[in-house]
């Protein structure tokens, strides 16, 4: 295994950052501080962290409506993200995007997206930009299993494959398309099998296993960076919460949810691995979790104390302020 103890601790911490950020956002929703749809990523942390830990700061990431994890894994600051969820002026998107459209362009995180499957062709476009500029930046597009049914999946991956672009398509197959079990509405069990239509490698991986995700994504990113073209990765995963907060979840057996939460939690799974390998002591574990708790407490304080956007900002950012041509 090529993983260093240091990298493992960073990835472990990042998974906790996602988990605790979201659980706090959930709590803030019940308190009324966070409003609007909140699509929880909890349970899928190993996918975002395993993939993004292979990326450079200048690599591109495009997300989904469930993208808190993608942003945090790419390096976004939790206090600015929390402020965005609060609708504050200090948020990553100045209070104009919210949870579903969260983005941090300073990290080349080109945005979550409220439309299923809408990031696939733009990720291909960002990869085309890298190729045209002659840089070796890689683009990663996360999308759900529902997106694999959309035409944009076919068109976006088709173009990426045609031009052998440096892009990694990561399907987070959490097995439910909103409320519908995937296999009620799909023919192929594995989304990775669809890669054959585009003559690119397709790999299915256990999305609850951080090490596996990290290694499979590492190969795909390396291939993309070296000019070998796209890869389609399917990460088999599960969301611990409903489609969005307030979902009554009558479509998922309680025992199934309990099984994944208890035995397939990516954080506790990796925690055990690290302990077994001697990469993490109990003291270090406690310290990491406490530091992350402090970070999230600070994020909430920052969000609470931040001002709401001023009314004049409602009309800014529609078009660029200066429209004069050079």
């Amino acid at each position: 295994m090529s993983l260093s103890s240091e990298l493992c601790k960073t990835m472990y911490r990042d998974m906790w950052r996602i988990r605790l950020f979201e659980e706090e956002a959930n709590r803030q929703t019940s308190l009324g501080s966070v409003v609007g749809a909140l699509h929880m990523y909890c349970g899928e942390e190993a996918v975002a962290v395993g993939v993004c830990s292979n990326l450079r700061d200048d690599d591109y990431v495009l997300g989904t409506h469930r993208s808190h994890g993608h942003c945090l894994a790419k390096g976004a600051e939790s206090h600015r993200m929390m402020a965005e969820l609060f609708g504050k002026a200090t948020g990553t998107c100045a209070g104009k995007g919210g949870s579903m459209h969260i983005a941090d362009f300073s990290l080349n995180m080109l945005g979550a997206n409220g439309i299923v499957g809408a990031g696939i062709a733009p990720a291909t476009g960002a990869a085309l930009a890298s190729k045209l500029r002659g840089t070796d930046q890689v683009s990663v597009c996360f999308f759900g299993d529902g997106a694999a049914a959309r035409g944009t999946f076919h068109e976006g991956i088709g173009l990426g494959a045609l031009w052998k672009l440096p892009v990694v398509y990561v399907c987070e197959n959490n097995q439910y398309q909103q409320w519908v079990p995937r296999m009620n509405v799909a023919v192929l069990d594995s989304v990775a099998d669809m890669a054959g239509s585009y003559a690119i490698p397709g790999v299915s991986v256990d999305g609850q296993n951080l090490v596996e995700v990290y290694e499979v994504a590492g190969e795909a990113v390396e291939r993309a960076r070296k000019g070998g073209g796209p890869t389609l990765i399917e990460a088999r995963t599960y969301r611990f919460y409903g489609h969005s907060l307030g979902d009554e979840e009558q479509y998922r057996p309680a025992a199934e949810v309990e099984e994944w939460r208890t035995n397939r939690d990516p954080i506790t799974t990796f925690q055990s691995t690290m302990m077994e390998q001697g990469w993490l002591t109990e003291e270090e574990d406690t310290q990491i979790q406490n530091e992350v708790k402090d970070e999230i407490t600070e994020a909430v304080r920052f969000a609470e104390e931040s001002p709401f956007p001023t009314p004049d900002s409602v009309t800014t950012d529609v078009l660029a302020p200066v429209q004069e041509v050079a």
């Binding site: 995007g97 944009t152 173009l159």
Partner: protein, 323 residues
């Protein structure tokens, strides 16, 4: 001054801009093999072989790639073979390109031009003849530009390419072969500026696209009736140069708005409403729209005649508002 066709003027703008800025690339169906259906992209593959991408038939993919490349710092010029096909990429235009800057609090810029051959050309009927400028005028974050002459086509396309925000660039198919003067050298027309094409004192005709030329012809005929008609080419529908339009209408006291698209909820309707709101006290008659009836484009040339507005419709409308 030299004359060029509308197609040649667009091609010249593309070549000059691609020479100037290497972040510009062209993407679309048949843009290499055939030079596009109207030959606008002809010669680009020979001169800039690495910056033109001929695609499979995948409008959503093409548009999405354009959006992503633009967000990542490039300047794509997307060609949609017939504007009707943009309906296959509406999410990419409306939910992605238009919204990115706003949703991200100003972080994103989508400097993309979407070229849209539109309107009646050869008799291609209902799925290859639409215009629908107002669909895009209605979406904040998009700019809508409609040149009516080769000179404006060149100057406006260059501005559109240099704009940091998405531009829907409407090219009326039946004026691709029309000729007009195009200045030598750098020729730029800023977006958002209407043009007074003919001065007049009695009535203002605000026209869009090919209706500009027809309005100028109508103005000559109306001289015989003793009417001195001013013709304003809107040129840019969003942002709309309401200042130039209102100044003209307030001076003449009469307004007719002409577009080739259906008047119902069309671009002309927005302009007419804007005039009504701002110039009511200066108006001496109703604001009248000239456009096509609210029907799909038929096939038979005998039917098309009753759809596309002609000079007579404009003269009739001006006479009506002057009564």
């Amino acid at each position: 001054m030299r004359t060029l066709t509308f197609s040649e003027a667009l091609r010249e703008a593309l070549h000059e801009e691609m020479e100037r800025d290497e972040t510009i690339f062209v993407i679309g169906e048949d843009v290499i093999t055939h030079g596009g259906p109207y030959k606008v992209t002809e010669g680009i593959a020979e001169r800039f072989p690495d910056r033109i991408f001929e695609t499979p038939i995948a409008e959503a993919g093409i548009m999405g790639v354009g959006v992503g490349a633009a967000m990542a710092g490039m300047n794509p010029v997307v060609e949609i073979m017939y504007m009707d096909f943009v309906t296959c990429a509406m999410d990419e235009v409306v939910n992605q390109a238009a919204k990115m800057r706003y949703m991200t609090g100003g972080q994103a810029s989508v400097p993309m031009v979407i070229r849209l051959p539109c309107g009646v050309g050869r008799l291609l009927a209902a799925q290859h003849s639409q215009i629908m400028e107002s669909w895009f005028m209605h979406v904040p974050g998009l700019q809508v530009v409609v040149p009516s002459t080769p000179g404006d086509a060149k100057g406006l396309l260059k501005s559109a390419i240099r704009s940091p925000d998405p531009v829907l660039f409407f090219e009326y198919k039946r004026i691709y072969t029309s000729r007009g003067q195009v200045p030598d050298g750098e020729h730029i027309i800023p977006l958002g500026q209407a043009k007074i094409c003919r001065d007049g004192e009695d009535a203002t005709v605000v026209a869009i696209g090919p209706m500009v030329q027809k309005s100028l012809e109508a103005a000559v005929l109306l001289e015989d009736d003793g009417y001195d008609v001013e013709v304003v080419d809107a040129r840019s529908l969003s942002p709309l140069d309401s200042e130039t339009i209102c100044e003209s209408v307030s001076r003449t006291g009469h307004a007719v708005v002409c577009g080739e698209d259906s008047s119902f909820a069309g671009a002309a309707s927005e302009i007419a409403a804007m005039i009504g709101e701002n110039c009511f006290r200066d108006l001496n008659g109703p604001v009248v729209r000239v456009g096509s009836p609210h029907v799909p484009m038929p096939f038979s040339s005998e039917l098309v005649k009753h759809v596309v507005p002609e000079v007579a419709n404009i003269t009739e409308a001006v006479s009506r508002v002057m009564m």
